[in-house]
């Protein structure tokens, strides 16, 4: 049996590849970076290291070969002959993936399932639509399965270099369960270790996004505000822990109202999630989790999506609003997304930025809440400053009374009412 994995990253190799290999599939990895393809062909394997506390396990994933994405004919041949495909490239790269795999899928005799490992409730449906746009007749690709997958494992990093002859090591925690969208499947799917096939994929994805991912992002953005280096450090800060807990609870309440209490999870689950954030063996930097804030502030993503769902359920999402404000203040050199947010904040107001980035309705109370939260942290929000206390908003340093304008401050902290 052969499985094709598109995207040799932390999820593609560190999770999907490991699961598929353990189920007996031979792995063929499609890599955009020719050096990565060459490395995998040269070494033939990689490692996955899972750890938490004093426990660690390292698994060798062997029997791996790779095809560079630029070798379109070779890719098409592999796609046409695989027994299962997995895509893990980042949701914004799905159009490029569609271009890549469409010829091979169109040429297949038998239907195949493409498992789409992206943090989007309808990633499977979106890929299906992208395929149909690219191939005539669309039926030649619509007969295949495009099923979203929600993964619980936190994969935080990769050790090693493709330039070396030593196997790469992907680092993550022990979580191994994943849910596959039944509605998107077309062909038979052999059972895989840790897999659940669900009829309520949207609920599963939102539960992961609006609780775990929201909490993870909250820990990172608040940790960054207070100057911590790692997620496992930030979550130890009592103030951060409290806001993270409250933000995830707001997410759960929104989910419960939409999907039912069983789908939302309970307080016990929150404690389990916080325990995962305490996992120091991941040594997960705050800046890694916080990066790309413009994507994380999108309307349906983990923060704004969770907050809007909560507000729709009558929950005042103060904690999520505070985290959103913290995300708006995130600064990282060399992060174009963070620079985009910062630029938007400099030119406009908080609400204006949220309207642009998150599609927020100006009449939504969430905008007002975020604006209020922003006003508490904006006063001394300089790149190199950090909060000593979330509660009283005290910063490590304050501008002198005669100081000129700070480095990054929105033009106006008042809420704008668009014409």
């Amino acid at each position: 049996m052969k499985a094709l994995v598109v995207g040799p990253g932390r999820i593609g190799c560190g999770f999907a590849g490991e699961v598929l290999r353990s189920a007996g599939y031979e792995l063929v990895v499609v890599a955009r970076d020719p050096a990565m393809a060459a490395h995998l062909n040269r070494v033939g394997r990689y490692h996955v290291r899972m750890g938490h506390g004093g426990l660690a396990r390292e698994t060798a994933v062997d029997g791996v070969r790779a095809v560079p994405a630029s070798s379109t004919e070779a890719v098409a041949r592999e796609v046409a002959t695989c027994d299962l495909a997995a895509v893990a490239v980042g949701a914004r790269n799905l159009p490029a993936v569609a271009d890549l795999i469409a010829p091979g899928l169109a040429a297949r005799d038998r239907p195949v399932n493409v498992l789409v490992f992206e943090n989007e409730p309808d990633a499977g449906g979106r890929l299906r639509a992208l395929m149909a746009e690219r191939v005539r007749p669309p039926a030649s690709v619509e007969r295949h399965g495009y099923a979203g997958v929600v993964v619980t494992r936190a994969m935080t990093g990769r050790l090693g270099s493709p330039a070396s002859d030593r196997p790469l090591t992907f680092v993550g925690d022990f979580a191994s369960r994943f849910a596959v969208e039944r509605r998107g499947l077309r062909a038979d799917l052999r059972p895989l270790p840790g897999m659940t096939v669900t009829d309520d994929f949207e609920a599963s994805m939102h539960r992961k996004l609006f609780v775990f991912s929201a909490g993870h992002a909250a820990t990172a953005y608040l940790g960054h505000l207070k100057g911590y280096r790692f997620v496992h450090t930030a979550i130890r800060d009592p103030e951060i822990r409290a806001v993270v807990h409250a933000a995830m609870r707001e997410g759960q309440r929104g989910l419960a109202a939409r999907y039912g209490t069983d789908a939302a999870g309970d307080r016990v689950e929150l404690e389990a999630i916080v325990a995962r954030f305490e996992n120091a063996s991941l040594a997960d930097p705050v800046c890694r989790v916080a990066r790309d804030p413009s994507r994380k502030l999108a309307a349906t993503d983990r923060l704004v999506g969770a907050a809007r769902l909560a507000e729709a359920a009558g929950v005042r999402a103060h904690s999520l609003a505070f985290v959103i404000a913290a995300a708006l203040s995130f600064h990282a050199e060399g992060d174009p997304s963070a620079e985009q947010v910062e630029s938007a904040m400099r030119r406009g107001s908080v609400l204006g930025t949220l309207i642009r980035l998150s599609g927020l309705d100006p009449l939504e109370p969430l905008g007002h809440r975020v604006g209020f939260a922003w006003s508490r942290i904006a006063r001394s929000r300089y790149h190199e400053n950090f909060l000593l206390s979330l509660r009283n908003g005290s910063w490590a340093w304050e501008p002198a009374p005669e100081a000129t304008a700070p480095v990054a401050r929105p033009a106006d902290t008042r809420l704008e009412t668009p014409a």
Partner: protein, 277 residues
């Protein structure tokens, strides 16, 4: 990963409260933490081998600095290196380094014994500190000849700095990996420190002082004179007990540092808060 904390025993615990809390966090995070008490070592110089990936040098006694120097000779990575700690402790050398780095310092003097300071009292009070490798004890404010004559118990030689009588606050800035925290108390009588917000010029002053010694983990004491801040002392051990979440921040820094050492990455980081002002 293994961190050694070179510290004096704080009976009954092995370490002081803040360092103990930081150590507890590090242990939870999978780092072995060992308290190294110089006064309890066997003293066998040949047995002084590097056993930890990183050492934090908290104790600054002669013995601790010598033993740390011996560990460093065995390729141990020590924060801060004993040569730097010795330099900070030597007020004469430290003041000269600060001056050279352009850090404002009070007018400073060094004499073989306190009595030679008498002529200087005509221009105002002095802060007098025992100085030199065998010195201990804090500074004393000397305002007149009588107070000078009473200093019979102060070890010689001494280091003295001009003190502005109008300055009634003792301010200190702690730096942990480039992050700066201000604490202050009333002086000379108050006991407890409280946080105070720094200003950009104080941040720049502290960072410049730290850069002059190559330190990322340090403390500076400040005095005000004619409305301008001056650095009176640099310490290779920052005062963190009054810093909010001080133990957590120290553990955060130490975890990053030991991870870097084990990964052969540069120890020196330019964390947020450092150098960008």
């Amino acid at each position: 990963m293994r961190i050694g904390v070179i510290a004096h025993r704080r009976w009954p615990a092995a370490l002081g409260p803040l360092m103990s809390e930081a150590a507890r966090l590090l242990v939870e995070w999978g780092v072995d933490v060992e308290a190294v008490h110089p006064e309890e070592s066997s003293g066998d110089v040949a047995a002084l081998g590097r056993e930890c990936d990183l050492y934090l040098l908290e104790a600054r006694s002669d013995l601790a600095l010598s033993l740390a120097g011996a560990l460093e000779a065995d390729d141990a990575t020590i924060v801060n290196p004993p040569a730097v700690a010795v330099t900070c402790r030597d007020r004469l050398v430290a003041t000269r380094i600060l001056q050279r780095a352009g850090v404002p310092v009070p007018a400073s003097y060094a004499v073989a014994h306190a009595g030679k300071l008498a002529p200087l009292l005509e221009d105002g009070p002095l802060l007098v500190t025992p100085w030199g490798a065998c010195a201990g004890g804090g500074s004393r404010l000397v305002r007149d000849i009588d107070e000078l004559d009473a200093m019979t118990d102060v070890a010689s030689p001494v280091f003295a700095q001009r003190h502005d009588a109008r300055d009634a606050r003792l301010r200190s800035i702690a730096c942990v990996g480039g992050q700066l925290f201000g604490v202050e108390r009333g002086w000379p009588d108050d006991e407890g420190y409280e946080p105070f917000p720094l200003t950009p010029d104080l941040c720049e002053l502290a960072l410049r002082a730290g850069r002059a010694f190559g330190m990322e983990l340090f403390g500076v004491d400040l005095s005000m004179s004619d409305g301008r801040p001056h650095v009176t002392e640099v310490s290779s051990v920052p005062r963190l007990s009054s810093v909010p979440d001080g133990a957590l921040r120290l553990a955060d820094y130490a975890y990053d540092a030991v991870r870097r050492v084990v990964s052969d990455e540069p120890l020196r980081t330019v964390a947020r808060g450092a150098g960008a002002l």
